[in-house]
């Protein structure tokens, strides 16, 4: 029962935040709605039994990427300068096309839902309710099967660190 509540709450949070990211005129609000969408996806990871991934998502994305986005917005002139790029593009259509689009999309989603539900039901991919702790499993897999990816990701991080540091270094004139 709690799983169903968590599922509904986090999927609602994700969908509402993603939609309002589309609508908002203010870049800072867009960053905060990204934060809401990431929180929602972390909740969905929880319902899928990936508790370590939910905590990673919160720590890396919300503690790191969103903070970096906010810093970048502030460093590039804050709100005033960024308003220019956010007004709706004229070809986005007016109210009528918007309503038509929403109606079409919802029809599409309902049809696909019924279709996929039948297919997956046929292949017995019904709900599997075996939650077990993932941290030890992921740690063991990282050390045995995926050791190469583990080591190469440190080289990737080194490259990102050095590259971004060079780019972001103030100009020596």
């Amino acid at each position: 029962m709690f799983v169903k509540f968590l599922f509904i709450a986090s999927s609602l949070l994700t969908i509402v935040s993603a939609l309002s990211m589309l609508m908002t005129k203010d870049i800072m609000h867009a960053c905060i709605f990204l934060l809401g969408a990431l929180m929602g996806v972390a909740g969905l990871f929880l319902t899928l039994g990936a508790d370590f991934l939910a905590a990673t998502q919160v720590m890396v994305y919300i503690g790191g990427v969103v903070v970096l986005m906010l810093f970048a917005v502030m460093l590039t002139g804050g709100n005033e300068l960024n308003k220019r790029g956010l007004n709706p593009v004229p070809l986005m259509g007016n109210k009528f096309t918007f309503a038509l689009g929403v109606f079409g999309a919802s029809m599409f989603f309902i049809v696909v839902y019924q279709l996929l539900y039948k297919i997956f039901h046929y292949f017995h991919l019904s709900v599997v309710d075996s939650y077990e702790s993932t941290v030890e499993k992921i740690g063991r897999l990282l050390l045995t099967d995926h050791i190469l990816a583990f080591e190469i990701s440190s080289v990737l991080l080194l490259g990102a660190l050095v590259g971004a540091a060079i780019i972001a270094r103030p100009k020596r004139n």
Binding site: M1, I32, A55, T56, M59, I62, G63, G64, L70
Partner: protein, 374 residues
């Protein structure tokens, strides 16, 4: 309902009968919810009380250090001073800066409070009463407490004044840069204890100081010092409270917040200091373990464990307040140099040292090795 909280409540004799009555009446899921709600309600109130008493303790101890009396008007010995402050805060007028960003203005304190109170769910108060004994406990706590940095950044940004924005940015950059030494020194303990859940880490230590992780080996001792310094900086406390202290920053990111919003920022700060002291005492100083396991897991044992838990945490809290009123404040560049050029390399060195120690001595502590020699 195999979670530790309900097993703890079932251990109280007369509770067991009504529990069955409750489960028949409401069904297992809802009783779990009711029990967890009561537990969470207790923890939330205890944390609010701790935040309030923190302000009182701070003013009383600082008065003691400066040979003056400190608050003694409201209630016996001034204990209820924080209630008076709370009421004063509620009665303050709600002034929002001119064209401040309303949505972010109210979101800042909310993020701070949610981040800290959600982190209180995993604190190991006693062997039975860990509200949520997640097996990603320590990692979850680090993740959710990174919301505070965001709350401070939003608070500073949204109040439309250059100074609070600068204070907010400085506060956020200080918090996120000091999160690295905290994370890496906690990693050193996780390597030794072999598990992420608070219950397991505290259980692997025991009551006597010989078994604590602080004295386990020299690397964990340095890790404790690095952790304590970095957690002071992460809570914007003591010699690192730069964002709201410098003269030209006036009061940093919470200048423009009046009344209740300011109270939420201050409460979040005091509860964060308490949470960080709890993590320090749980990871390094043997958490709630009573020496010689007096009282075992019975109800009396639980109460003893809670007393040991609060005494260790309050001792660390006293040290934090004591440091605040003795050490001078650091400049911005000294602050950042300390973090990136001293604490982070030492923390990384500790992590390497602890893992080498674990492989060579199979995780035995220094004292066990010395005992093994004779």
């Amino acid at each position: 309902m195999t979670s530790t909280l309900s097993s703890y409540i079932q251990s109280i004799p007369y509770i067991k009968e009504n529990l069955y009555w409750l489960t028949e009446m409401l069904g297992p899921e809802v009783t779990a919810f009711v029990i967890f709600f009561i537990g969470a309600f207790i923890v939330a109130n205890v944390m609010a009380l701790v935040g309030g008493l923190g302000t009182y303790a701070e003013r009383k101890i600082s008065a003691d250090i400066q040979q003056r009396i400190g608050p003694n008007r409201v209630g016996p010995l001034g204990i209820l001073q924080f209630l008076a402050d709370g009421v004063k805060m509620i009665m303050k007028e709600n002034i929002v800066p001119r064209d401040a960003d309303k949505f972010l203005y109210y979101l800042g304190p909310l993020l701070c409070m949610v981040g800290i109170f959600a982190a209180c769910a995993v604190l190991p108060i006693s062997s039975g009463f860990i509200l949520a004994d997640l097996n990603v406990g320590v990692f979850y706590l680090l993740a959710i407490s990174s919301l505070v940095g965001l709350g401070i950044l939003l608070g500073g940004y949204s109040s439309n004044s250059k100074w609070s924005m600068l204070g907010g940015m400085r506060g956020a950059s200080q918090i996120i840069s000091y999160e690295i030494p905290v994370t890496i020194s906690i990693l050193a303990i996780v390597v030794l204890s072999g598990g992420l859940s608070f219950g397991k880490i505290v259980q692997s230590q025991s009551g006597l100081p010989t078994e604590w992780y602080v004295f386990h080996n020299p690397f964990t001792f340095i890790a404790f010092i690095v952790y304590f310094i970095a957690s002071l900086a992460e809570a914007n406390r003591a010699p690192f409270d730069l964002p709201e202290a410098e003269s030209e920053l006036v009061s940093g990111y919470h200048t423009e917040f009046t009344g209740m919003r300011f109270a939420f920022f201050a409460l979040a700060e005091y509860v964060e200091v308490f949470v960080l002291c709890t993590v320090a005492s749980a990871l390094f100083l043997g958490g709630y373990n009573v020496p010689f396991r007096l009282g075992g897991d019975s109800l009396l044992g639980q109460v003893l464990q809670t007393i040991v838990f609060f005494s260790k945490t309050c001792f660390l809290y006293y040290v934090v307040i004591w440091i605040r009123w003795t050490l001078p404040r650091l400049r911005v560049d000294q602050l950042m140099t300390l973090c990136w050029k001293y604490l982070t390399p030492i923390a990384l060195f500790n992590l390497v040292g602890v893992s080498i120690w674990l492989v060579i001595f199979d995780g035995k502590s220094l004292l066990q090795l010395i005992k093994g020699l004779f």
